[in-house]
Symmetry: C2
Subunit: 474 residues, 2 copies
């Protein structure tokens, strides 16, 4: 008997062929009828496959002709380079540019390519408002009273209920809530690190993480990182004797958007567990995948309780709510003690509202639409970059998340570009923000979480011209 | 021309006479007519004076007879002793009993004399619910977006607007909001202390503060403290060369409820400023005064910007909201940097709601009623202690706040009492929780923020009997 293919298997198979160039841009796909025969599926299933691929912007329909592979411009731009930092730990103060760029955050007159959160226009705030009102009714004392130390039960249950989607197997007792994602990382480091300890991170790395580590009197060790597959596992192996903690963003980290393959995740988890080095896994972008499937987490492979899985809704739902959480594994007692000492408890009301939003199914619905927007934005950005930026510009190939990493031709200093762009009301995040070493001078991160408009396209065009000017002035 | 007295001047004058025994319990006061003549006030003013004094439970009316000074039982119980700790800094781990006592927090079947927050029954949660709903409408994006780093503007304005009441002169730019009061203290210490630094505190001291200091790798120096007037300023002077930061709760600290006189506050501020030692002033109980006037803060005397004034609504309005703030003086830039690194921002929605609650006048209304309840509770507690506790029991004379400090006859071990009381579904806070030294073995703190009922009275009676048992068993 012939194999009957499932709808999502067929989607994945074709997506794989497109992404790997087996079917090339502009090429016509099989007809609906042909697809049915090839995969032994019904007409309805075949139609659904095409719709899904179209939704992923991998194919487009031409009236009365059929489906064609989208002309994906990112395939024409070269891939940005792997990083190659020195493997020596440092406690250098982060560059001042970080503070300068962050201070632009609230400026309504700037185009904020520099920030790392989705624009408010992409967030479902009317629906969240209703959940807040419901939460004031549901909670004892309207949320005015202290909640249990581990955090709001509804939220913990729902975070646990969502864990099978990434290969997790959590229950509510495994989770401790926090005031947002940075608070989660801060608590993990404070609970586990001793002064002078070295923390291994990706390079380039989120500037807030670098600042957090240094401000706690710890050292940063930057690991070589590939824009598609994440950290170099062999490099990690080599530095294991010198580090105390590893802090990674395995899924769609900022700025590169890389996603570690499952085998690499598994290997890192077992390597670190063998040396009793805790892995803090920051998974705040994990739900923002561009493909058909949610990637697994390192926590999925954690048999020793050595992984502290952290996440939040700051990158997906409501940055201002400050709702995050940790599944701290065997470090739970330490985390709880630290949470009690430094914050007594978290804000139950907001957590209850988010928990209900998860429970209602509205979160999954919102994520589907947000992912589509981000993926479509990413394609528009790449197209604009290909069109307007200096020849030789390279970009990352994010498989999810909120950022694209742009590598301008060598010698193009993005600190100069920053200063020039600000005069044109454009804020970018220069590459120097993402390292404590002398790297990424010609790189920058752009936020793809802004609504795509003609004006935004024009701003990218302007940025491209300015980049050419900076390049020539060198 | 004769001096025309103001209503509150007369209230204060009579209150002073009662508190200092110039008019004694049971004594009859002047008639309304006599009072008018004595102070050159109108009949209406005189009546208001009596009503206010009655509201403060200083006098009571007997029908067809007049007003009499209340028979205040606390005047019959001896005052608890000043503490006399060693002036050597220590980094001893706090006693395990702290964790044990805190873990009782959520237990509905226990009478929680051990906690340090007002019971939910005393909080205006229906009104707060409305403010939350209004805040979701007022804020851009319903509070889903990041707020400015300093915190919600409405709340900062209102905290500033309330500052003249305690002799402050703040504006919104002077204030940085936090996730509750402990978060404020944690941020101040993290921003200012280096590993190994010594922090001077009151003794006895809030256990959470002791744990916070030790968990940050710092040392605690406990200062001799008088139950009525607070720390011994001469002792502070002596240890100044050995300390890096001073952290005080000058108004109605827990557990003793002392209130530093203005002169002492002023002296401490100038002493510390002269040595460039920052003063972290925790003023979370300042609004809970039993007298007629809000006491001043150390911040009122701060000319150098050397005082970091911290407060919150956790002890007065909504512990679960996690809304606090700091007026960090000249340390503002350090505080802001730390807040950004560790939490990005705070939860704007809840802060907006609290800001509006302040603005509407509902907060002052609520505080008036809460203060009356707490003062009346305090009197009921003292009466019950006088009646049911072992002969020789001493108590503090809190002038505000949420706690009474009970000193049982020497040799009565309150750790034993704790274990015994738990079996009777009563939780107390043993004296050992409030120090890192070998002190307060026969002391305990009782929470006066529980609604007064016959059952509560019975629980105090039980506690008194158990204390006698522990005393005899010694």
């Amino acid at each position: 008997m012939e194999k009957v293919f499932l709808y999502n298997e067929v989607v994945e198979r074709i997506a794989h062929q497109i992404k790997n160039g087996i079917i090339t841009p502009g090429e016509k796909l099989s007809s609906v009828r042909k697809l049915c025969e090839e995969h032994n599926i019904s007409m309805n299933t075949a139609k659904r496959v095409f719709l899904e691929l179209e939704g992923l912007s991998l194919i487009e329909s031409k009236p009365k002709s059929g489906y064609y592979v989208t002309n994906r411009p990112e395939l024409n731009l070269p891939l940005s380079q792997s990083s190659n930092p020195s493997l020596i730990a440092t406690d250098t103060e982060p560059d001042e540019i970080i503070t300068q760029v962050y201070s632009n955050m609230g400026s309504a007159d700037l185009t904020l390519f520099s920030i790392g959160v989705p624009s408010g226009d992409l967030l479902p705030f009317a629906k969240l408002k209703k959940e807040i009102i419901l939460a004031t009714r549901a909670l004892k004392g309207g949320g005015t009273e202290y909640e249990p130390l581990q955090g709001n039960l509804k939220l913990r249950r729902m975070v646990a209920a969502r864990s099978p989607a990434w290969g997790g197997n959590l229950d509510e007792n495994d989770i401790v809530t926090t005031n947002g994602g940075m608070n989660a990382l801060s608590f993990c480091l404070m609970a586990l690190a001793k002064p002078g300890d070295t923390i291994a991170v990706e390079s380039p790395c989120f500037p807030g993480t670098l600042e957090l580590i240094i401000s706690l009197g710890l050292k940063v060790l930057e690991l070589p990182t590939h824009p598609v597959t994440g950290i170099d596992v062999n490099a990690l192996k080599k530095v294991i004797p010198t580090i105390s903690i590893c802090l990674l963003v395995p899924n769609f980290n900022t700025p590169m958007g890389s996603c570690m393959p499952d085998e690499a995740k598994e290997k890192v988890v077992s390597l670190l567990a063998a040396s009793e080095i805790p892995l803090i896994e920051d998974d705040i972008y994990g739900d923002l995948y561009f493909g058909t499937n949610r990637p697994k987490c390192c926590k999925s492979f954690d048999v020793d309780g050595n992984v502290l899985w952290c996440s939040s809704v700051s990158k997906t739902l409501a940055p201002g709510f400050r709702v995050g959480w940790i599944a701290p594994g065997k470090y739970k007692a330490k985390l709880l003690k630290l949470k009690l000492i430094h914050s007594i408890s978290s804000t139950s009301l907001i957590q209850e509202a988010v928990g209900n939003f998860f429970k209602s199914g509205k979160y999954e619905h919102h994520l589907r639409s947000l992912r589509k927007t981000l993926y479509s934005n990413y394609q528009n950005y790449v197209q604009a970059i290909a069109e307007y930026f200096p020849v030789g510009t390279k970009t990352s190939r994010p498989q999810g998340g909120l950022a694209i990493w742009v590598e301008l031709p060598e010698g193009t200093n993005t600190l100069n570009l920053y200063n020039l762009a600000i005069k044109h009301k454009i804020s970018i995040a220069p590459g120097r923000m993402f390292t404590l070493q002398n790297q990424f001078e010609n790189c920058m991160r752009l936020n793809i979480g802004l609504p795509w408009t003609e004006e935004l396209k024009f701003k990218l065009k302007t940025l491209g011209s300015l980049a050419s000017m900076v390049q020539k002035a060198k």
